[in-house]
């Protein structure tokens, strides 16, 4: 804010500005951000984690400048006082330079948030890093997306558009490690948390352990068609080393396609992906994820005034299931197909200042559920209050959402935006 206070007079004065002003104070930087308090508790007790699920104060600063003729600059970072981990953290969300080297090309270099694909909180061809821990403890949905340190080059033509994202050093998910969220530890055969924080072997050699993601897309009569390719690693641990002491990120290639457009009174989307787990293509290695086909179909429609409903059906189909089953301990193998249905309901009230939403994941094959109710009220243009919950339940302790049952939590937050 102080930077803005100093900079804006410089813009107003423009060319007649005082010659004593330094160069920096002449570059107009827009300063925005928010200050937030967020607190949450587990509803039940979890012997592996603290009762406090979230307890933090956060300042986000968002600085941007379009002053230079040839480039836009952006910095967005959070300072975070975290009472759960008892740490002060600094998280740079974005720090990039954007430029247009030619009419047909855009280039973004640096730390950035990246998203593509058609799923709503379900991802097939979006293999950019996710922060599942933030998602489950009740941070703003913004934090589900973790930043990538990457170069994004985009090429545009009448024929089709092409995005190429190169990440020189593998950026994994901020996965569930046991630090904040208890999980099913298959080696121990029980739930675990801070007593058994997952140790990982992360590929981290620059320009060698890299990732490349491409998207070729085109709009045809308002239908958005895209094909995707990815070469890199499973983003969350997808296996274990031979001694079963550390989790690993095996090689992964993904090939997929998506389609989105108007269907009837709403929006329909289809997405498909082939997950080629190239370290275990024949499925014999029980320590490495099997290859999969993933498929998603979704539909969104306004079903009342300021009331929207969205449903999605998603399936993960294991390709070498028999070999997988033979290599897994008896009784611990999953089904060949994991089915998942999601339902989002969003209602806006009080001149759209009150937003009530419920997002539900339900897996009929895993017999588990994850619900995300949230109520957000804008007290004024700057101040918002919020309350919500992350509710997990399931029939099995080892299933995708069932394992998080003890992490069921409620939270509340206050945010001042400027």
């Amino acid at each position: 804010m102080f930077a803005a206070a100093f900079c804006f007079p410089a813009i107003v004065r423009g060319e007649t500005s005082d010659s004593n002003d330094s160069f920096l104070s002449n570059i107009p930087i827009e300063t925005h951000g928010f200050y937030e308090l967020r607190a949450g508790y587990r509803l039940g007790s979890d012997k592996y984690e603290k009762d406090m699920s979230i307890m933090e104060t956060r300042l986000q600063l968002d600085l941007s400048s379009s002053y230079l003729e040839w480039a836009d600059l952006k910095f967005k970072g959070d300072v975070l006082g975290d009472l759960v981990t008892e740490e002060v953290d600094f998280d740079t969300r974005e720090a990039y330079i954007f430029t247009m080297p030619a009419d047909f090309m855009d280039l973004k270099v640096g730390r950035q948030i990246l998203t593509w694909g058609t799923g709503d909180l379900v991802f097939i061809n979006d293999l950019f890093p996710k922060d599942w821990q933030s998602f489950f403890i009740g941070r703003d949905t913004e934090y589900l997306k973790a930043p990538s340190d990457a170069v994004k080059a985009s090429f545009f033509s009448d024929l089709a558009n092409l995005d190429i994202v190169y990440t020189p050093q593998f950026d994994p998910d901020r996965f569930i490690s046991g630090k904040r969220i208890s999980y099913w530890n298959s080696n121990l055969g029980r739930l675990a948390g801070r007593d058994a924080i997952q140790r990982v072997e992360k590929p981290d050699r620059w320009f060698h352990d890299d990732e490349i993601a491409v998207r070729l897309y085109k709009n045809i009569n308002s239908y958005e068609l895209a094909v995707y390719g990815y070469h890199g690693y499973w983003k969350s641990p997808g296996g274990q080393n031979a001694a079963a002491t550390r989790a690993i990120f095996p090689d992964l290639n993904v090939y997929g396609a998506s389609l989105r457009g108007n269907v009837g009174k709403g929006i329909g989307n289809l997405e498909f992906g082939y997950y080629d787990s190239s370290d275990d293509r024949n499925g014999k290695n029980g320590l490495v994820n099997n290859s999969e086909l993933r498929f998603l179909a979704g539909y969104t429609q306004e079903i009342g005034k300021d009331f929207t409903a969205a449903v999605q059906y998603y399936v993960e189909h294991m390709l070498e299931y028999n070999r997988y089953k033979n290599s897994s301990p008896v009784g611990l193998s999953r089904d060949r197909d994991r089915h998942l249905v999601t339902l989002r309901l969003t209602k806006l009230l009080m001149n759209q200042n009150l937003r009530c939403s419920l997002f539900t994941y339900f897996s009929p094959s895993d017999k588990d559920v994850y619900m995300r109710p949230n109520v957000n009220y804008k007290v004024s243009d700057n101040l918002a209050i919020e309350a919500g919950a992350n509710v997990f339940f399931g029939s099995y302790r080892s299933s995708f959402f069932g394992e998080f049952e003890n992490n069921t939590n409620i939270y509340t937050a206050l945010r001042y935006s400027f």
Partner: protein, 264 residues
């Protein structure tokens, strides 16, 4: 002789002028002209819009955005790009519409959320919902297709044409009809009055300030009042520019990266 011919010629011309002045165009011509004047000035345009929403208790909320528009066809399809500046929590969000005026073709709408780098497609079935929480509806901002109503000229004053508009599909909208008072001078819609199913006036939109910009008469301030809730919204336009030769910035490329026209 020449003088007489001259006088006769002048008389004929004058008579024609007066005849034209008092001649009343048919209602279709009036609504077509008013529609083009209100929504299709120039081939494209840009404006900064400031909205102040005041509720019955006098509490206010503010919205500010840059709006870019390009016409595909005068009186027909258009593209809109809305770049939000205020309030702070929606800053840099982009709302984009490909408006289709043909009946039965829904508009295409997108929303870009910069903090997630997410391009969202929005279901657009109901155009009569509030635009950004104000008393303006989506349809007020981008225009209601003339095809959707029948039009009848019910009054002609010295300054105004008053056109009554009755929806062809009455169950699709909340009003039973609305009257538009159109300036005879420049075809600007000066006032719109909406009547509910019990024939009671419940909503008005007034053009309170008009300026000539690059030769185009332009509403630079309008006010919508909701007589039922006691809420009103003032919308002011500044930095209005027409015929700025916008390229096709109404694509995903510019959702993710706002064009210079929006941010400068």
């Amino acid at each position: 002789m020449r003088v007489i011919y001259g006088i006769a010629f002048i008389l004929v011309v004058l008579l024609q002028v007066f005849a034209a002045e008092s001649e009343i165009p048919d209602v279709q011509t009036i609504v077509d002209k008013a529609n083009v004047t209100a929504y299709y000035q120039g081939n494209d345009g840009k404006a900064k819009v400031n909205m102040v929403i005041t509720n019955k208790q006098g509490q206010t909320r503010e919205r500010e955005f840059i709006i870019l528009r390009k016409d595909v066809k005068d009186g027909g399809d258009q593209k809109y790009y809305v770049y939000f500046l205020k309030p702070a929590d929606v800053r840099k969000m982009v709302f984009m519409v490909h408006k289709h005026t043909e009946m039965k073709t829904d508009d295409d709408r997108w929303l870009y959320l910069p903090s997630l780098d997410l391009v969202k497609r929005i279901a657009a079935s109901d155009k009569r919902t509030s635009f950004v929480g104000s008393d303006f509806l989506y349809e007020d901002v981008s225009g209601r297709s003339l095809e959707e109503d029948t039009h009848e000229l019910i009054e002609t004053t010295e300054e105004l044409f008053v056109v009554k508009n009755v929806p062809k599909q009455s169950d699709a909208v909340e009003f039973s009809y609305y009257n538009v008072s159109i300036s005879r001078k420049n075809f600007i819609p000066m006032k719109m009055e909406y009547y509910d199913k019990s024939d009671k006036l419940y909503r008005t939109i007034e053009s309170v300030k008009i300026e000539d910009i690059q030769g185009y008469p332009t509403v630079v301030k309008s006010v919508v009042s909701d007589l039922k809730t006691g809420s009103k919204t003032e919308m002011e336009f500044s930095d209005v520019k027409y015929d700025i030769n916008l390229e096709d910035i109404f694509t995903e490329r510019y959702l993710r990266r706002p064009p210079r026209e929006a941010i400068r």
